[in-house]
């Protein structure tokens, strides 16, 4: 459990980090390192150099304007959990983060790191997709914004180009009739979920008007279940029917914890739980 040989470089600014990265395409960014360093210790990855971006002040802000809550890439999970803006305007995020590993990991692990790493079983990528977050990428050619919906390609594959750095994640402010509900099923506290679901719901006249269901730990990336959402808006919940539809739109890759059949059952049950938590 010792990492391979690599270099270490402490970036002084976003520009400095991009410059170093584009000169060495075998290097990777180090934010909190709570996924990267275990991967290195297990020798799943052999970068030439780690570019430490955790000391760049520009990446450490949480702010709010008329449209978005913006979370800087190297804000830690613990800092998000204690932030007044988040507690007031995006309280579901605190429920989600309490399920991300353990306190000592959350003290170091970062918001941007989790989004950029794109672990298919992690909560935050699915959360960003569910909320239609906007992800800011800065590269040699300038700054661009990508919707979280277009950000994840495949297993740990994202829209980030070799010379780019993820600088912040912008969550649209919730409307007064909008609710975000989250649930997951896990074996051990703080472990990755066997299956999880984040629902973005708009309510009109005590009925679901708009619904976006995003599952995690069910496939190679966060999975949006559009047909299931449409069925629920029209006909509500029915175990066997929802199960049949989910089967057509989720990957349901088996893992050490659960078979495809079990993941399908859990995804169906999570859908029921979410609707129960909605209480309308």
């Amino acid at each position: 459990m010792k990492s391979p040989d690599f270099g270490y470089y402490e970036a002084s600014s976003i520009e400095d980090a991009i410059k170093f990265k584009s000169a060495d395409d075998e290097s990777v960014f180090l934010a909190g390192g709570q996924s990267l360093i275990p991967a290195l210790n297990m020798r799943l990855s052999t970068p030439s150099c780690l570019i430490d971006i955790s000391k760049i002040n520009e990446l450490k802000n949480i702010s709010i304007d008329d449209h978005f809550i913006s979370i800087g890439a190297s804000v830690t999970h613990s800092e998000v959990l204690q932030n007044k803006i988040i507690l007031e305007y995006l309280p579901t995020l605190t429920n989600v983060l309490k399920m991300v590993a353990h306190p000592a990991i959350r003290n170091k692990g970062t918001h941007g790191g989790s989004i950029a790493y794109g672990d298919p079983a992690a909560e935050l990528p699915a959360f960003a997709v569910a909320l239609n977050a906007e992800i800011t990428l800065v590269g040699l050619k300038g700054t661009r914004t990508v919707s979280a919906n277009d950000f994840y390609y495949g297993l740990f594959e994202t829209e980030i180009k070799d010379d780019e750095i993820l600088t912040n994640i912008k969550y649209p402010l919730l409307k007064s009739n909008q609710k975000i509900i989250f649930d997951e099923i896990y074996r051990r506290h703080g472990d990755y979920a066997m299956a999880g679901l984040i629902a973005n719901i708009e309510i009109l006249h005590s009925k679901i008007d708009n619904l976006k269901l995003v599952f995690f730990a069910t496939g190679i990336k966060p999975e949006v279940a559009i047909k299931t959402s449409n069925f629920i808006i029209k006909d509500g919940y029915n175990y066997s029917k929802i199960k049949d539809i989910l089967k057509t739109e989720l990957d349901l890759d088996a893992d050490l914890n659960s078979s495809s059949e079990m993941k399908l059952h859990l995804a169906t049950i999570l859908t029921k739980r979410i609707l129960k938590l909605l209480e309308i």
């Binding site: 690599f6 270099g7 270490y8 275990p38 309490k98 590993a101 353990h102 000592a104």
Partner: protein, 164 residues
């Protein structure tokens, strides 16, 4: 000579200042601390699962196996060897009183985590204590006695805070 594989850093461990020491870029903090003779920091899994190697960096409990020594430049570190203030001495006694350790492998990490719980200066119920220590594995006690010890430590600490 400093290059990107040999990094010169300065930091403080248990009030002792280390100035301009050379560390290897690939070495994690746990290994480095142990090389300084601070072998109270125990390495269990080295992948962030067991929590035995937890130390305090800049006032926060973190996994020393998931931080590189090169990352702690300018930091203030406290390990189990440095938990000698009156509050933590009392906590250690409370752990002994409740038999909250058997083989002792998890205890350094467990005590650093307990320190972080006490730093929050608020009450925790047993379920909340279990959640706080969920990142620290103990294979001996079954956790009951550890939760007992932490619960009593919190109660004692809160009484002292409220009595000024």
């Amino acid at each position: 000579m400093q290059d990107n594989k040999n990094i010169k850093i300065s930091f403080t461990v248990n009030n002792e200042i280390f100035d301009n020491v050379m560390v290897s870029s690939r070495q994690h903090l746990g290994d480095y601390l142990r090389s300084l003779g601070l072998t109270g920091t125990h390495l269990g899994c080295e992948q962030g699962a067991c929590g035995a190697c937890t130390v305090e960096v800049d006032g926060k409990a973190v996994r020393s196996c998931l931080i590189l020594s090169s990352q702690v430049n300018g930091s203030v570190i406290r390990t189990i060897e440095g938990l000698d203030d009156p509050l933590m001495e009392k906590v250690k006694e409370t752990f002994l009183k409740h038999n909250a350790l058997q083989c002792g492998f998890c205890s350094p990490g467990m005590l650093i985590t307990t320190k972080e719980i006490l730093n929050q200066k608020k009450h925790f119920n047993r379920e909340e204590i279990r959640s706080e220590i969920s990142g620290n594995y103990c294979r001996c006690t079954g956790y009951q006695s550890i939760v007992d010890a932490i619960e009593e430590s919190i109660t004692t600490n809160m009484k002292e805070i409220n009595n000024g």
